[in-house]
């Protein structure tokens, strides 16, 4: 039976990982991810979780240990943030093309400089091209539920790819929320035992990670790309299966009051929760505004997104990360959205805002200003992107 408990989201994610009966956790603590690995180390040390906790000396080693343990057939988890992701990123690219179904929680945080421990999506964007599946949560319950689903997606033999569960640092990781935690039996029913596609076994030696000469590298990358493409419907299947068992519905693109919306906000992560409150306030004044929230960032669900936002006249595209591209193109999320629209012959009026960077709060008032801006501006007068909440 599920029980509803008041618990810090980081601890709830760690509990969820424990309920998934992981075999190996290799992680290095970094703010704001620390409580996740700290609690997992407690669960192992106190005998509540029968797993190997490897306290490595860096994130580079964390992901390297994860590659080894996953290749040996162990269910493997790690977690990081920001600079930690930057340090482990070399191995992240390897884990994905080697098709190792590692699950990693990323408590999203800005990247230095200046040194910032606070939230934005710089690490999520840094991880964008590493060939992982990237799931994004908006609140604590979703971070927990997506952790269960992440293992099931990753370990599905038709996928066998690593999966990131993103949760906004501090805004989610350090907040106490009421969260439904299922019992171990329910999780066992949802998540079958891990059966790897291939495993390192001294009885039947294989080579994982050989050199790829020019006559095979292209094929190896094509194979990886095809698997990532093929994973999208399977992610949808797992969302359906989760709903059947636990009653909570997840969608690749979540929508809010979008049916008759002339202006649609496209958001990702916990921003969506504030946006929904702002949308309620604007709706009371008769502004036809709605939202699409991106649950799956990689593989990028262009078809589902365009189906949701394709009829809107105005789009408010949010990026919670700075982009250094010279100012003549938009931020990373907006670029994906515009590319999806362009390929389908659509060109609504769009405004791209860089918001909530390095822990800056984003208020309901900010959403109202952004909607006002796109509604009143002439198409063609809007710059590729604008900073919100910046002091002149």
């Amino acid at each position: 039976m599920s029980r509803r408990v008041g618990i810090e989201v980081s601890l709830a994610v760690a509990e969820a990982v424990g309920l998934c009966d992981v075999d190996v956790i290799a992680a290095y603590p970094i703010t704001p991810q620390t409580h996740i690995v700290e609690h997992l180390s407690e669960l192992v040390a106190e005998g509540h979780l029968d797993a190997e906790f490897i306290p490595v000396e860096s994130e580079h080693s964390a992901m390297s240990a994860c590659v080894g343990s996953s290749a040996a057939g162990a269910r493997t988890f790690t977690s990081t943030s920001s600079q930690g992701y930057a340090l482990m990123s070399e191995i992240c690219y390897i884990a994905s093309t080697l098709r190792l179904p590692i699950v990693m929680a990323v408590a999203n945080r800005a990247i230095s400089a200046p040194i910032s421990i606070w939230n934005d999506h710089a690490d999520l964007m840094y991880a964008r091209d590493a060939g992982w599946i990237q799931l994004v949560s908006e609140n604590g319950q979703e971070a927990v539920d997506l952790t269960f689903m992440a293992f099931r997606i990753a370990e599905d033999k038709r996928v066998s790819l690593p999966v990131q569960v993103n949760l906004d640092g501090f805004i989610m990781s350090h907040v106490i929320e009421p969260i439904f935690l299922p019992d171990a039996q329910e999780v066992k029913q949802f998540l079958p035992p891990f059966e790897p596609l291939l495993r390192l076994d001294p009885e039947k030696p294989i080579t994982i990670g050989p050199v790829g000469m020019p006559d095979v590298y292209t094929e190896a990358r094509k194979a990886h790309d095809e698997i990532l493409k093929a994973s999208k419907p399977i992610i949808g299947e797992v969302f359906d299966e989760f709903e059947k068992q636990f009653g909570r519905r997840y969608k690749i693109i979540e929508t809010y009051k979008i049916e008759d919306a002339e202006t649609v906000i496209v958001a990702m992560g916990s921003l969506s929760q504030t946006a929904a409150t702002a949308i309620d306030a604007m709706r009371q004044r008769g502004v036809k505004v709605g939202m699409a929230s991106i649950r799956l960032f990689r593989p990028f669900p262009a078809a589902e997104l365009v189906e949701a936002i394709g009829k809107a006249k105005n789009l408010v595209l949010l990026d919670r990360a700075t982009v250094f591209a010279g100012g003549e193109i938009s931020g990373p999320v907006a670029l994906e959205v515009k590319s999806a629209l362009f390929d389908r012959g659509l060109s609504p009026k769009t405004a791209n805002f860089l918001v909530g960077i390095g822990g800056r709060d984003v208020t309901g008032q900010n959403f109202e200003e952004m909607v006002e801006r796109v509604v009143t501006a002439q198409k063609g007068d809007l710059p590729p992107y604008e900073f919100i909440n910046v002091r002149e």
């Binding site: 080697l98 291939l198 994982i208 990670g209 190896a220 194979a223």
Partner: protein
């Protein structure tokens, strides 16, 4: 051909390009880009086996008469054997085709 070159369709690759057959690299024809070819003058050869010891690519094997025969399937023409031969019995000749 696939065994000699390792060339496959992306659909035939093992997950993560893993190699599941131990020792399969022996089948790869790695001696196909040689520009200089070693040839042994058996009149000068003293059967010392230095070429066999020094060759990094397993080109030399001892034959019934005690000479070291060459298998050019893996030979890249690096010339180590010719350089190490104490009696100058190995010549590096230009590949013509």
């Amino acid at each position: 051909m696939a065994k000699e070159s390792g060339i496959k369709s992306w659909k035939e690759l093992n997950p993560g390009t893993a190699i599941t057959e131990p020792g399969s690299a022996a089948a790869l024809k790695t001696g196909d880009w040689r520009s200089m070819r070693p040839e042994t003058d058996r009149d000068r050869c003293i059967k010392c086996g230095q070429c066999y010891i020094m060759c990094p690519d397993m080109v030399y094997t001892k034959d019934a008469e005690g000479y070291y025969a060459q298998n050019h399937y893996w030979c890249k023409g690096c010339g180590i054997c010719a350089r190490e031969c104490p009696v100058g019995a190995i010549m590096m000749n230009e590949e013509v085709d």
